[in-house]
Amino acid sequence: MAPPIYSALIISLGLGTTMTFASTHWYLAWMGIEINTLAIIPLMSQNHIPRATEASTKYFFAQATASATLLFASISNAFLTGEWDILQTPNTLTSSLITLALAMKIGLAPLHSWMPEVMQGLSLLNGLILSTWQKLAPLYLIYQIQPTNSNIFIILGLLSIIVGGWGGFNQVQLRKILAYSSIAHLGWMILIISFSPPLALLTILIYLLMTFSLFSSFMLTRATHINSLATTWAKIPILTMSTPLILLSLGGLPPLTGFMPKWLILQELTKQDLAPIATLAALSSLFSLYFYLRLSYAMTLTMPPNNPAGTLPWRLNQQHNTTLMALTTTSTICLLPVTPAITALLPL
C-alpha cells in the first residue's frame, strides 16, 4: 500500500481510539469507534485475497451493527433521561443495551461468532491490531459506565470464559486459537469489571503484554498452523524456550505473570461472596490451558530424535527486529513478584 495512504490509516486508527478516550459525550465516543472501524477495513483487505476480503466483510457487518446499536441505545437514553454524559448513564434498560452493543464490538460470548473467522482471514499483524488496539476503546466505555447491577457482566464473563475455552479445543489454525484465547481473556475482564474496575484495567494491560509477545513470536517464524510451530527449533531456537513460557503465562500458571490477574480476580470474587462463580471461572480456564499446552508440546517435544511434525525449512538470513518483543516477553514471564507493588499502586 502506498505510504501516504498507509500512514493516514494508521493515524486514523490512533485518532479514533483517542477520540473515544477523550470524550464525555456518547456521540463523540460513537464517532471515535466509527473512525476506528472505518480505518481498519482497508488495512485488513489491502492484499486482495479472498480470505482477507471475506474477513473484512464479516468484521464490517459485526462492527457496523454494534455501532448502530450503541448509538441507538445512547439516543434512547437521551430521550428517556435527557443525559448525554457517559458517566451519568443510570441503570435502566438502555445501559444494558449499551453493554451488549459494546460486548458485540469486542467479541464477548454470546456475540462472538464473527471473531474466529475474522481473525483467521487476517495477516498476523492485522490480527495483532484487532486483538489489542481495537479492544481498547470499547473496554474503556464499559469501564466508564460504572455499573451497579452486576448480573449482565457475570453472565457475559462466565459465558465468554467457557466459550473461549471450549471453542478452541478442536482448532489447529493458530489465529483461530488466538481468537478464542482473546474471547476467554475478555471474559475474565468483564467478570470483574463491576466489582473492581482497577482489576479489570490490570487484566487488560497484562493481556495486552501477553498477546503482543505471542503474536510477535508467531510473526518471527510466520507460523499459522500447529505444524509450522514444530519447525521453530530449526529456525530460531530460542523461541522454543520463550514461546511455551508465554503460552503457559496465557494459561494462567504460576510463577508466570498470567497468574496475577486470575489470582486477584478470584480473590475479589470470593470477597464478594461469589465463590461458586469463581470456581466455575477457574475450572473453565482449564479448557484454554489444554490447547495452550498442546501448542507448547508441538513446539518443544517434537524435536529430533522424536518424530518431527513437519519438514525442515531453508535457513535464510533474515533481519529480525525484536526490541519491543524482548521487553514484552520478559514482562510476560517475570512480573509475578511485582504483584504486591501493583496491588499497592492500583486503588484496589
Binding site: 464517532m31 457496523a64 448509538l71
Partner: protein
Amino acid sequence: MTPAHFAFSSAFMLGLAGLAFHRTHFISALLCLEGLMLSLFIALSLWTLQFDSMNSASMPMILLAFSACEAGTGLALLVATTRTHSTNRLKNLNLLQC
C-alpha cells in the same frame, strides 16, 4: 415512552431484525444497515425539534457524514467480494470455516 421515541425505536428494531435475519444477498444486508442509520438520523432530528435545543443541531449532519462513509465502505466490500467470490450471495462466504 413518547410516540416519537416509539416510532424511531420500532423503525430501528425492524431494520435490526432485517440485518440479523438476511438470508440470500449481501446488498439486502447493506440496505438494512442504511435503514438503521436513517432511523437514527430521524431520532437525532426529532431531538432537536422536540427539545428546542440548538446545541445538538449538528448531530444529524455528522451522523449523515459517518453513515455515508460506512455505506461507501460497505459497497466497496461488496465489489471486492464480488470480484473474489464471484457472487454476492452470502452462502458463498465459506472460506473461513473451521
